[in-house]
C-alpha cells in the first residue's frame, strides 16, 4: 500500500473551498480528515464512497458561501459615462479608429457577401414544392474500372415503373431536341423539351398565363417567360400558333397554352419550350418508345413517401437484367435515385444529367468564399486586439481611477466590451453599406450573375446579430480581460509597463503575416494562371477556322458550292460532330477491356481544316469509302490502349473491327476545365454532315465570316445562322479564368491593406510610446540608422519566423487548392511565393520608414520634458 493512501482525496479540499465559507472551512476539513483516518480498515473504494458521502452532507446552508443577492450590476448613468469616455477616446485616436472600423467593415462586408452567396447557392431549386419526393432515375455503369453515374435511362423504364410500383405517384420522361421555332418572321434555333404531362405537377414552376393541365393536349406548347418575350413581346400569347420545324419535311403547329413565371435565378432545371412527350413521333418517326437499347434524357419519379425509395431501389433488379440483355456494351451495375432537393449538388458527378452542373462548382466556391470571409474577419479582429493592447497604456490612469472609486473587475470588463460592441456595431453598419453598394455589385459584375440579395430577410438580420456579437466579443474579450487585470497600486506607482512585449501581440501579428502571405500567393498564382491558360495550346489550331452548323447534307452541298469560290478559303470540310460543339460517346473493346471514348465523325479534310497535328500514321484518304473501317485516335487513347505502335492494330466497335491508321496529338475540344478524353475519329457518311468548317487565309477571317453569313441568309432565309469563329468556341472560359485573377487580386489587396494597417498601427503606437527613449538616444549621438535598427529589430525576428512558416505553408495550400479547382493549371512555382514574401517585406519597411521620418523631425526638448 502506498503511504499517501492515508491522505484523503485532494479534490475534496478544492471542492469544498470553492463552495464553503472560508471561516468554517478549516474545521470541516479537519473533521473530515480525522474521519478518513478512522476508516483505515475498510477497503479503499468503500472508504472513498463513505468519505464522499460525508463530504456531500456538508452542502447545507450554514456552510455554503452566500450566493450574492441581486445587486444592480451596473447603473444606466455609468453607461452614459462609458459612452462619453469611449467616444472621446476614439476621437482622440483617429488612426486606431480608422484601422479598426475600416478593417472590421471590410471583413464584415465580405462575410455578408459569403452569406448572400451561400443563401443563393442553397436556394437552388428550393422553390419546388415536391423537391423531397421527386427523384431522378440514374444508373451506375462500369467504365474502364470506375463506376460512373449517368442520368440517362432506358426508354421503356418510365412506363414500367409507373405500372409496377404503387408507391410511385407520378412518372415523367424528358427528351430534348434541337429544332427551329417559327412565329411570323421570328425564326430561331431552339431546344424543345418533350415531357409527360406530369412535368408541371412534379416541378412546381408557377405559370403566368394558362394552365398546367394544357400540357396533356398533344397540340399545346408551354413557353418560358424569356421565350414568350422573345417571340411575342410582353403581350399575352395564349392561343397564338407557332410552327416547330423538326427537320427537312417535318413540322407541326402548336398552340401556346401557357407561359411560365420568370424562373428564380437559382435554378438548375428549367425549360424553354414544353410539349407532350408523344410528339416525339412527329419529330422522329423512327422513335421507338419500347427499345431497351435506347435511352431517354431523363426519367423522373415522384413517390408518395420518400421512405419508399429504398424499396423501389431494391426492386430495380429485373429492369437491370432486361437492360443488360438488350445492350451488352452498356452494362448497368445498379440503378439509383437522386432526390431533386440535392440533385444540383451532385450534378457535377452525374453524366448527361438534365440538372445544370454549374451549381456543383458554386458549392465549392461557397466554401472558399466562407473561408475567405473568416480569414479576413480574423485579420481585422487581430488588428483590433493588437491595437487595443498596445494603446491600453494610454488608458491606465482612467482604469486605475475607476477602480479606486469602486469599479469592480467585471465593471471594467463590461466597459471595454461595450465600447467594443459599439465600435463593431458601427463597423457592421458600414460593412452592410459596403456590401450592398460595393462588394456584392462588384462580385456580381465580375462573375456576371445576380444573386438576388435581399436586405429584408430575417435570417440575414439574425446572421448580422451573430456576426456582431461574435466579432465584438472575439476581438474585445482578450483586451478587456487584459486591461481589467491591472493592480491599482501598480498603475499609480507607474510600475506597470506593458503592451510593448506582450507575446499575444506577436503571435497575432505573426499569424496575420502568414495569412497575408497565403492570400498574396493565391492572387499571384491566379493572375499567372490566367495568362498561362490564355497561352496554353488547344492542341489544334483554331485560328483562322470558321464553322457553321447545317441542317442536312443538301444544305451543306449548297453552302459549300457557293463558299468554295471564295479565294480566301484554304480548305472546307464537313462533319457530323465538331470540336467544341458536339461529339458522341462510344464503347471500344480491345483485348477484353472496354474503353469509353469520345467519337467524332469527320471527313477527309477535317484534320487539315482544324489544324490537328498527326504524329504518326496518316489521315483518311480522299477515297473515303476505302477508309470506312479505319479510325484515327489521339495520343491519350493510344496510351490507354497500351499499344507500342498502334498503327495497324484492330479495335472493336459495335462488333465491327476497325483499323487504327493514325495518331493525332492530344487536344482540348472543350475548355480546360474538362480533362482530355480518349478520342477517336471515324469517317462520317455524307448524309450525316451537320457541320461545315473551313480554314481561311490569315487576316481574312472577318471578311470571310461576313460572306458566310450573307451566303447563309440568301440560301436559307428560313433558318437562322448558327456558327462562328473557332477561336470563340470557348471564349468566355478565358474571361472566367481572368475573373478568378481579378477577384483574388482584390482580395489580396484588401489583405495587404489590413495586415499593413495593423502593422502600421502597432509600429506607430510603439514609437509614440518610446519618444523619450529615442530622444535620449539622439541626445547621446544616435543617428537615424541606429534608431531604424532599433525599431526594425523588434520585428525582424517575428517577420522571419512568420515568413519561414508562411512561405512553405502557402506553397502547399495553394498547390492543393489549384489542383482541386482546375483540371489544367500553371505548375506551382517558387516565384509566386518569393514575390509574396518580397511584398510583405516591402510593406514592413515602408511602415517603419514612415515612423523614422517622424522621429527624425521630432523635437528633442518636448520629447525629453517630463509632464
Amino acid at each position: 500500500m502506498k503511504p499517501e493512501s492515508n491522505e484523503p482525496p485532494k479534490q475534496v479540499e478544492l471542492f469544498l473551498s470553492w463552495l464553503c465559507k472560508p471561516d468554517v472551512l478549516e474545521e470541516i476539513l479537519g473533521d473530515l480528515e480525522e474521519y478518513y483516518l478512522e476508516l483505515t480498515e475498510k477497503p479503499r473504494w468503500q472508504r472513498s464512497i463513505l468519505y464522499w458521502f460525508q463530504v456531500m452532507h456538508f452542502l447545507r446552508p450554514f456552510a455554503l458561501k452566500k450566493i450574492s443577492t441581486y445587486r444592480p450590476f451596473n447603473h444606466p448613468p455609468m453607461f452614459r459615462n462609458y459612452y462619453k469616455t469611449s467616444s472621446r477616446n476614439l476621437v482622440r485616436n483617429p488612426l486606431s479608429l480608422f484601422i479598426n472600423i475600416f478593417g472590421l467593415s471590410m471583413a464584415i462586408g465580405v462575410c455578408i457577401l459569403a452569406y448572400g452567396f451561400s443563401q443563393w447557392v442553397n436556394n437552388v431549386d428550393e422553390f419546388h414544392k415536391n423537391k423531397h419526393s421527386v427523384y431522378l432515375t440514374t444508373f451506375f455503369a462500369d467504365r474502364d474500372g470506375t463506376l460512373q453515374q449517368n442520368g440517362l435511362t432506358p426508354r421503356p423504364l418510365g412506363e414500367m415503373l409507373r405500372a409496377d410500383f404503387t408507391s410511385i405517384e407520378r412518372v415523367c420522361r424528358l427528351e430534348d431536341r434541337n429544332v427551329v421555332v417559327k412565329y411570323e418572321d421570328r425564326v430561331f434555333h431552339e431546344q424543345v423539351r418533350f415531357s409527360d404531362p406530369e412535368f408541371l405537377d412534379m416541378f412546381t414552376f408557377p405559370l403566368k398565363w394558362g394552365t398546367k393541365h394544357s400540357l396533356s393536349d398533344l397540340n399545346s406548347i408551354i413557353l418560358s417567360e424569356e421565350m414568350a418575350i422573345k417571340y411575342f413581346g410582353t403581350e399575352n400569347p395564349i392561343g397564338q400558333d407557332v410552327r416547330i420545324i423538326f427537320g427537312e419535311n417535318r413540322s407541326k403547329v402548336f398552340t401556346v397554352a401557357g407561359v411560365a413565371e420568370p424562373f428564380p435565378d437559382a435554378h438548375a432545371i428549367d425549360f424553354d419550350f414544353l410539349v407532350h412527350f408523344d410528339n416525339l413521333i412527329e419529330a422522329e418517326p423512327s422513335y421507338n418508345f419500347n427499345d431497351w437499347g435506347k435511352f431517354v434524357n431523363a426519367t423522373l419519379i415522384q413517390v408518395n413517401n420518400p421512405e419508399n425509395i429504398n424499396t423501389i431501389e431494391r426492386g430495380m433488379g429485373r429492369y437491370k437484367r432486361l437492360q443488360n440483355e438488350a445492350e451488352q456494351d452498356w452494362a448497368i451495375a445498379t440503378f439509383a435515385f437522386e432526390p431533386l432537393a440535392t440533385l444540383y449538388q451532385h450534378s457535377g458527378d452525374i453524366r448527361n444529367t438534365i440538372s445544370s452542373p454549374y451549381y456543383s462548382n458554386n458549392y465549392q466556391a461557397q466554401i472558399i468564399l466562407s473561408i475567405l470571409a473568416l480569414i479576413l474577419l480574423a485579420l481585422a479582429c487581430f488588428n483590433y486586439i493588437n491595437i487595443a493592447i498596445v494603446s491600453a497604456a494610454k488608458r491606465l490612469k482612467e482604469i486605475g481611477l475607476r477602480k479606486v472609486i469602486g469599479a469592480s473587475r467585471q465593471m471594467v470588463i463590461t466597459q471595454f466590451l461595450t465600447e467594443n460592441v459599439f465600435v463593431t456595431l458601427f463597423a457592421l453598419l458600414l460593412g452592410l453599406f459596403l456590401a450592398v453598394t460595393v462588394i456584392i455589385p462588384w462580385f456580381e459584375q465580375i462573375n456576371s450573375f445576380s444573386m438576388e440579395f435581399k436586405l429584408m430577410d430575417h435570417v440575414l438580420w439574425g446572421f448580422l446579430v451573430v456576426v456582431l456579437l461574435f466579432t465584438g466579443v472575439a476581438s474585445g474579450l482578450y483586451p478587456a480581460l487584459y486591461i481589467a487585470r491591472f493592480n491599482v497600486v501598480n498603475i499609480f506607482k507607474g510600475s506597470v509597463r506593458f503592451g510593448r512585449k506582450n507575446p499575444i501581440t506577436k503571435v497575432l501579428l505573426g499569424f496575420q503575416l502568414v495569412l497575408a502571405c497565403l492570400l498574396i500567393v493565391c492572387a499571384i498564382m491566379f493572375t499567372q494562371n490566367s495568362t498561362y491558360i490564355a497561352n496554353r495550346s488547344w492542341g489544334y489550331h483554331p485560328e483562322g477556322a470558321l464553322y457553321t452548323s447545317v441542317h442536312d447534307y443538301s444544305a451543306f452541298e449548297q453552302l459549300k458550292n457557293v463558299m468554295i469560290q471564295n479565294t480566301n478559303i484554304l480548305s472546307v470540310s464537313g462533319s457530323t460532330h465538331h470540336l467544341g460543339r458536339d461529339h458522341t460517346t462510344t464503347v471500344v473493346r480491345n483485348a477484353n477491356r472496354q474503353y469509353e471514348v469520345d467519337q467524332l465523325s469527320v471527313d477527309t479534310h477535317y484534320f487539315e481544316t482544324m489544324g490537328l497535328e498527326v504524329t504518326s500514321g496518316r489521315v483518311f484518304n480522299n477515297h473515303s469509302e476505302s477508309d470506312r473501317l479505319t479510325v484515327i485516335i489521339n495520343k491519350l487513347f493510344a496510351k490507354n490502349l497500351n499499344l507500342e505502335n498502334p498503327i495497324g492494330e484492330l479495335i472493336d466497335i459495335d462488333n465491327t473491327k476497325y483499323e487504327i491508321i493514325g495518331v493525332v496529338d492530344d487536344f482540348h475540344p472543350y475548355s480546360f476545365y474538362h480533362a482530355i478524353q480518349p478520342t477517336l475519329f471515324k469517317i462520317a457518311p455524307e448524309q450525316d454532315y451537320r457541320f461545315l468548317s473551313m480554314k481561311v487565309q490569315v487576316g481574312s477571317e472577318n471578311e470571310t465570316y461576313a460572306t458566310l453569313r450573307n451566303t447563309w441568309a440568301q440560301l436559307f432565309p428560313e433558318i437562322p445562322f448558327q456558327g462562328g469563329y473557332q477561336e470563340d468556341v470557348w471564349g468566355n472560359y478565358f474571361e472566367e479564368v481572368a475573373t478568378h485573377g481579378k477577384f483574388w487580386r482584390i482580395i489580396a489587396l484588401v489583405t495587404i491593406l489590413l495586415a499593413g494597417l495593423g502593422l502600421f498601427g502597432l509600429v506607430t503606437l510603439n514609437v509614440s510610446g518610446r519618444v523619450r527613449e529615442f530622444s535620449v538616444r539622439k541626445v547621446l549621438g544616435a543617428n537615424l540608422k541606429h534608431i531604424s535598427a532599433v525599431i526594425i529589430q523588434q520585428y525582424i525576428l517575428l517577420f522571419a519566423i512568420a515568413l519561414i512558416i508562411g512561405a512553405p505553408l502557402s506553397y502547399f495550400i495553394v498547390a492543393f487548392f489549384f489542383d482541386s479547382v482546375y483540371t489544367y493549371h500553371i505548375p506551382m512555382n517558387i516565384l509566386s511565393v518569393a514575390l509574396s514574401v518580397l511584398i510583405l517585406i516591402i510593406v514592413l519597411l515602408a511602415v517603419v520608414f514612415t515612423q523614422i521620418g517622424k522621429i527624425s523631425k521630432s523635437d528633442l526638448v518636448s520629447g525629453l520634458r517630463v509632464e
Binding site: 474545521e27 470541516i28 473530515l32 460525508q54 452532507h57 447545507r60
Partner: protein, 114 residues
Amino acid sequence: MSKQHLGELEELVLLLIIMLEPEDAYGLEIRRALKEHASRTITIGAVHGTVNRLEKKGLVKSHLGGATDERGGRRKRLFTITAHGKSVLRQSRDVKVNLWQQIPELALSNLRIT
C-alpha cells in the same frame, strides 16, 4: 426571542457538549459520542449544522483550539455551553419531568416502547 425552542437532536448535542467539554467538544467527537450513548448515526455535516444552529441561538459558544500534528495541522472548533444554554436545557428537562409525573401509572404500563 422570548422562548427558545430546543429540538430533540439539539438537546442531545447540547448534553453531549457538557459531557465532553472542555477538551473534546468538537464535531467529530460529538458524532462519535452520539453514536455511543444514543445509538444515533448522523453525518458529520449534520453535527456541524446542529452546533452551528446552537451557537446562533446563543446556547453554546466556540473557539478554535490549538493546532496539532493531527488533522493535517488543522485546528478544531471547540464548543462550551453558555449559561443560557444550561438554563434552556434545565427548562426542557423540567417540562418533560413534569409531564411524566402527570401521566397515571396505569396508562404508562400499557405503553410499549419498542
